[in-house]
C-alpha cells in the first residue's frame, strides 16, 4: 500500500480475511459484480478515513457504510428516470426458457430500488431481525417491515411467470 502504511496497520489483514464476505454482500447490494466491487472499494476508502478511530469491530462499520452508500445511491438515482426491464417471459422468451426461479429472483432483485434491495439483503442474506436491520439502516422497524413487504411483492410480481407453487425442487419450470 502506498502512502503511510503505519496509519492503516492491520487493514490489509482485515480485508484479506473478510474481503470475500464483504464483497458478496456488496454484490447483492449493488445488483452486480462490477458495481459491487466499486461499492466495496468506496466503503474501504471510508473505512480508511476512520481506521484509527474505530472502536470495536471494523466489519460492522464497513457493513453499515455499505448499506448507507447503497441506499444513498438509490436516493441520487431516484431523481433520474430509470428504465426497468420486466422479466416478463414474453419480452425475453429465449432467456427465460432456460432460467430457473433463483436466476429470475437475482435478476429481479437487481431491478429493485436499492433501499428495498438493502432491506432484503439484510433480512434474507445476513438473516438480521427486523430490529437489527432497522438499527443497521438507521430507520424504524416499521420502515423495515413495510419495505420488506413491498420488496417481496415486487419480486413476486417480477417473477410471476415463475410461480413458486409450480416449481420442481430445483426451481425449474414444472
Amino acid at each position: 500500500m502506498r502512502g503511510k502504511p503505519e496509519a492503516f496497520a492491520g487493514l490489509d489483514a482485515f480485508v484479506a480475511e473478510r474481503g470475500d464476505a464483504l464483497l458478496a454482500t456488496a454484490i447483492l447490494l449493488a445488483g452486480g459484480r462490477d458495481a459491487g466491487q466499486d461499492l466495496l472499494q468506496a466503503a474501504i476508502e471510508r473505512l480508511m478515513r476512520r481506521w484509527n478511530r474505530i472502536d470495536g469491530d471494523p466489519e460492522g462499520y464497513v457493513r453499515r457504510i455499505l448499506y448507507h452508500l447503497a441506499v444513498d445511491t438509490w436516493r441520487r438515482r431516484s431523481r433520474r428516470p430509470e428504465v426497468l426491464t420486466s422479466l416478463d417471459a414474453r419480452t425475453v422468451p429465449d432467456v427465460t426458457a432456460t432460467l430457473d426461479l433463483r436466476d429470475a429472483l437475482i435478476r429481479a432483485l437487481a431491478l429493485l430500488p436499492p433501499k428495498q434491495r438493502a432491506v432484503l439483503v439484510l433480512r434474507y442474506w445476513e438473516h438480521l431481525t427486523e430490529a437489527e436491520a432497522a438499527d443497521r439502516l438507521g430507520c424504524s422497524i416499521g420502515t423495515v417491515k413495510s419495505t420488506t413487504s413491498r420488496g417481496l411483492a415486487r419480486l413476486r410480481e417480477l417473477t410471476a411467470d415463475w410461480a413458486v407453487d409450480d416449481r420442481t425442487t430445483n426451481g425449474a419450470r414444472a
Binding site: G3, I27, Q41, A42, E45, R64, R76, D135, G138, K145
Partner: protein, 297 residues
C-alpha cells in the same frame, strides 16, 4: 407463498455470490482514492481565496446531486468554479457520516424586535427528538418524541401552565410537518441534492472554529426576493456549524431571522437519556391534543 419465496431468495443469494472473490487489490485502490481525496481537501484549503473568487466570479449550479458517481476533481486554478461542487459533496458526505450521532442544535429566532429560542437533539439512528422552546413571552415548553417499534410516543410539558400531556400513535401517522426552511441535517442534505445553487463565500472563524461560509439558493422554501439562506460548515470536517435563514413575508417587510448552531454528540448513555422526558412532580396531566404535529423549528 411468501415463506417459500423467501427461502428461494435466500438460496438464490447464496448461490449467486458463492464464488465471490476479490480479484483486485481493493485496499490499494481505496488508498489511491483516499489519497486523491486528501489532495483535493488540501487544495481546497489552500485555495481559500480562490473559493471567494469563485463566489465573485459566479456561483456553481449544483444540478441534481452533489454526490455524483464521478468524484469531484481537485480544484485547480484552471477550474476555479470547482470548489463549490466539491464543498457540496463534502457537506453531503459529512451529513451522512453524522447519521450515527445525535445532532444537537440551539436556535434563536427574531422578528419585529421579539425573540424566542430553542434547543433540540435529534438521534440520527432512531429518529427520536427532544426539544426545549422558550417563546417570546417567556413560556417554556419541553417536547420529546420517542420511537418504539412502529409506535411513536410524544410527551409535551408546559412549564408556564404546569401541565403535560402524552400521545401515542402509529409511526406511519407521524406528521413530519412542512419544511419551512432546511434546518435539520437531513433537510439540508436534501436541499443540497435538489436543483440548488451553492456559493462559497469564503472562510470565517466562528467561536474558534474555522468554517466555510456558504450560501444556498434555488429550489428552497425561501424565494430569492424574500430572503436568503446561508450556512457555515467546519472547514476541516465539513460538519454543519451554523445555519442562518432570513425570510420576509413579502419583499418589503422586515425579515424574520432564524439561526441554528450545531454540534454532534456521541450516542452515549448520558446523551441518549435526554430523549426521555419525565414531567416534574405536581404538574397536571391533560388529555392529548388532537394535532399530532410536532413543533416546527
Amino acid at each position: 407463498m411468501s415463506t417459500e419465496l423467501e427461502e428461494h431468495l435466500t438460496a438464490a443469494m447464496r448461490t449467486h455470490v458463492a464464488d465471490a472473490r476479490l480479484t483486485t487489490d481493493v485496499v490499494a485502490a481505496a488508498a489511491r482514492a483516499n489519497s486523491r481525496r486528501r489532495s483535493v481537501r488540501r487544495g481546497a484549503t489552500a485555495l481559500g481565496g480562490l473559493t471567494l473568487a469563485a463566489a465573485v466570479a459566479g456561483v456553481v449550479a449544483v444540478s441534481g446531486t452533489p454526490t455524483t458517481s464521478a468524484p469531484p476533481t481537485a480544484p485547480t486554478e484552471q477550474t476555479a468554479l470547482k470548489p463549490a461542487r466539491y464543498v457540496a459533496t463534502e457537506v453531503s458526505e459529512a451529513i451522512t457520516r453524522s447519521e450515527d450521532k445525535i445532532e444537537h442544535s440551539t436556535q434563536r429566532y427574531s422578528y419585529q424586535g421579539k425573540t424566542s429560542s430553542g434547543e433540540d437533539w435529534r438521534d440520527g439512528v432512531t429518529g427520536d427528538v427532544r426539544r426545549i422552546d422558550v417563546l417570546e413571552n417567556g413560556t417554556k415548553l419541553e417536547y420529546a418524541m420517542k420511537h418504539d417499534g412502529d409506535r411513536v410516543t410524544t410527551t409535551t410539558v408546559d412549564h408556564s401552565a404546569r401541565t403535560w400531556f402524552r400521545d401515542t400513535y402509529a409511526a406511519n401517522d407521524e406528521d413530519k410537518g412542512e419544511v419551512q426552511v432546511p434546518r435539520t441535517a437531513d433537510e439540508i442534505k436534501a436541499a443540497l441534492e435538489k436543483q440548488t445553487t451553492l456559493a462559497v463565500l469564503g472562510k470565517e472563524t466562528l467561536d474558534g472554529t474555522e468554517t466555510l461560509h456558504l450560501k444556498l439558493s434555488g429550489d428552497l422554501a425561501i424565494p430569492k426576493e424574500h430572503g436568503k439562506y446561508e450556512l457555515w460548515v467546519n472547514a476541516e470536517t465539513y460538519e454543519l456549524v451554523r445555519v442562518v435563514a432570513h425570510k420576509r413575508p413579502n419583499p418589503n417587510a422586515e425579515p424574520a431571522v432564524a439561526q441554528w448552531d450545531y454540534t454532534y454528540l456521541s450516542r452515549t448513555e448520558e446523551n441518549l437519556a435526554r430523549f426521555t422526558l419525565t414531567p416534574p412532580p405536581g404538574y397536571t396531566e391533560q388529555a392529548p391534543k388532537p394535532s399530532k404535529k410536532k413543533p416546527q423549528g
